[in-house]
Amino acid sequence: MNWQLTRGEKIFQTLNALVLGVIAVSMIYPFIYIISISLSTPAEASRGGLHLFPREISLAAYKLVLSDSAILAGFGNSTLRMVLGTTLTLVATCLAAYPLARPGMPHRGLLTFLILFTMVFTGGMVPNYLLIQELGLLNSRWALILPVMITAFNVIVVKNFFQAIPESLWESARIDGASEWTILFRIYIPLSGPVLATVALWTMVFHWNSWFDAMLYITDDSKQVLQIFLQRIVVDNATEALETGVSSDQASSFTPETIKAATVVVTLVPIMLVYPFLQRFFTKGIMLGSVKG
């Protein structure tokens, strides 16, 4: 094919590339900067100018951060919260979405409306806090999982996906002798890879990055999540806490800046690793070949 661009199109393409390039750099540079600083020696880190790749590499900041028991506990708590929270969210969301997607479900419209209602009108912070308190969940890990386990948005998204699965598949399975449970777990869920991976990703990112609810509900540092420690170190400059008990010899191998950067990287990397694992579920056309017409 012969792609002859007009002058206007060429200008547009160039401008487009330029603008998008600037946006991309503005997103990627801070990222590279933080990684670079976290790997730098104190001298390198305090140098001005662009930081793309450290000339002198030091893993001292990482050693310090990863040997800190509070941060490790936070790591564990955040992981637990993410894994348990996401699993429960997926199960509960599917269980809620399936009946709402079935045409035969009585009062389907009303139930869907009630769920949608919660998307628009929510209780707010104080009532939520009181609710958690009354449920006796203060300072419990469940306070971070149960209130967000099921969200209207996820339910609607999954319900819509389920509804796009041809009705004849359900009918065929009924005739084949499948119960509703079998149909949900052996047919609907396996066919919903893309949407469940999406919901899983949202939920995992949400759990990993959540900070506010942990600050509100969790008082015990042994149950505290990683983001709280990150906030203390980066925002409150609580780097000294990590440095206590460190010999002055070692202390010269990092600065508060490199510690902060290393902590940021440590909290960032795990959630970034999730994406490639989920990616294979994002394949399109999973319904291909089932039905025609």
Partner: protein, 379 residues
């Protein structure tokens, strides 16, 4: 193996849509019954009530000895093939076919035997490890057939299984279904809107319209002895010609006449059966293949001709369709042997008088010229 009895069955959908208005149908053990009719006439609804996918509003459906109104689909001992195949896209062909058996807790070796046997019959053995998306439309429909036959049910239900296939494949798969039925002799209810499919497949054909059965009989019987104008018009390509007129007694005989110069002498059973209706308005129906351009073996009588003019000719090879009209606006199509013929030519059309029908006026006008042997419409 089972017979299916449908008794006074009514279906009212929410919103007071009465899709099926009380139908009766006896389907014998091993019979191939085709439900045919225009879109929206309630064929699918009837089939789905038999399958248990729609609730039965009134009446009963029995499969074998028991009434199944309250029996869930899986316990009705039926298998259904859908228009859109409805294969499970994430399962291989083998698993698609094995799914129903597995859920019924068949032992593994038995499942394997049934699936491989069915695959053999349908010629899909090489495809067993593929997923549906790697199959052509025809292959998918075979898998859907396979999924139905592995279960060895008492009744097969088909809802327009061929309408997503191209014309050639449709004819091939139709033949396949026919062979399969010969071999398995399983009671079958087959829904289609295609009259050709209905005529070629059915032991009996049941023509439905507006939620009612109009006629249910062998393909030949419904074609040659339609009980009303609807059935007559529905079957046959090109469709039957209808000419409005009335019964006029004259010269000691009974004639079909109208104001456009049509005048045909009724003889034989037509004259006998229509005798009591002299003076009434009727509609004459003639099949295109019962009309000839010159007198021949079937059409000799000069009193049984139509004067018409050739409008358009469609050549089909060794036959042609001649579209005719007269000054009064009566239209007719004749299917005759191909020959040179100019458009605009006036013709004297000779009729095979034994093949004509007289109907009462209206879309569902009764055929008043049926020999006694034909039973009246049930319901």
């Amino acid at each position: 193996m089972a017979q299916v009895l449908i008794r006074d069955v009514v279906k009212v959908y929410p919103g007071n849509v009465t899709a099926v208005k009380g139908i009766n149908l006896d389907i014998a053990d091993g019979e191939f019954m085709v439900l045919v009719g225009p879109s929206g006439c309630g064929k699918s609804t009837t089939l789905r009530m038999t399958a248990g996918l729609e609730e039965i509003s009134d009446g009963t459906v029995s499969i074998g000895p028991r009434i199944v109104n309250d029996v869930p689909p899986k316990d009705r001992d039926i298998a259904m093939v859908f228009q859109n195949y409805a294969l499970y896209p994430h399962m291989t062909v083998y698993k698609n076919m094995a799914f129903g058996l597995k859920l019924r807790k068949f032992p593994k070796p038995e499942i394997h035997k049934r699936v491989t046997d069915a695959a053999e019959i349908l010629g899909i053995t090489p495809l067993l490890d593929r997923k549906p998306k790697a199959l052509s439309g025809g292959q998918r429909q075979r898998v859907a057939l396979g999924r139905a036959i592995v279960r060895d049910p008492s009744v097969f239900l088909f809802d327009e299984p061929l309408s997503n296939l191209d014309a050639k494949l449709r004819v091939e798969t139709r033949a396949e279904i026919k062979r399969l039925h010969k071999r398995l002799a399983t009671t079958t209810i087959y829904v289609t809107h295609d009259q050709e499919e209905a005529m070629t497949l059915g032991d009996r054909v049941c023509i439905m319209s507006e939620g009612l059965i109009q006629q249910c009989d062998t393909p030949l019987a419904v074609y040659e002895r339609p009980v009303n104008r609807f059935v007559a018009a529905f079957l046959g390509t090109p469709p039957m010609n209808f000419i409005d007129g009335r019964l006029t007694p004259q010269d000691g005989g009974l004639w079909f006449t109208n104001d456009h110069g049509v005048k045909i002498k009724l003889t034989g059973h037509h004259a006998e059966l229509a005798a009591g209706k002299a003076g009434q308005d009727v509609v004459m129906g003639l099949r295109p293949e019962g009309m000839f351009m010159r007198p021949g073996a079937f059409a000799q009588n000069e009193e049984q001709t139509l004067d018409m003019t050739v409008d358009v000719i469609e050549l089909l090879g060794n036959t042609m369709d001649v579209f005719l009209s007269n000054a009064g606006g009566d239209l007719a199509t004749a299917r005759v042997k191909a020959e040179e013929l100019a458009e605009g030519t006036p013709l004297k059309i000779h009729l095979d008088i034994s093949k004509i029908h007289l109907f009462e006026p209206g879309k569902f006008g009764q055929n008043i010229t049926l020999p006694e042997t034909v039973a009246a419409v049930p319901g």
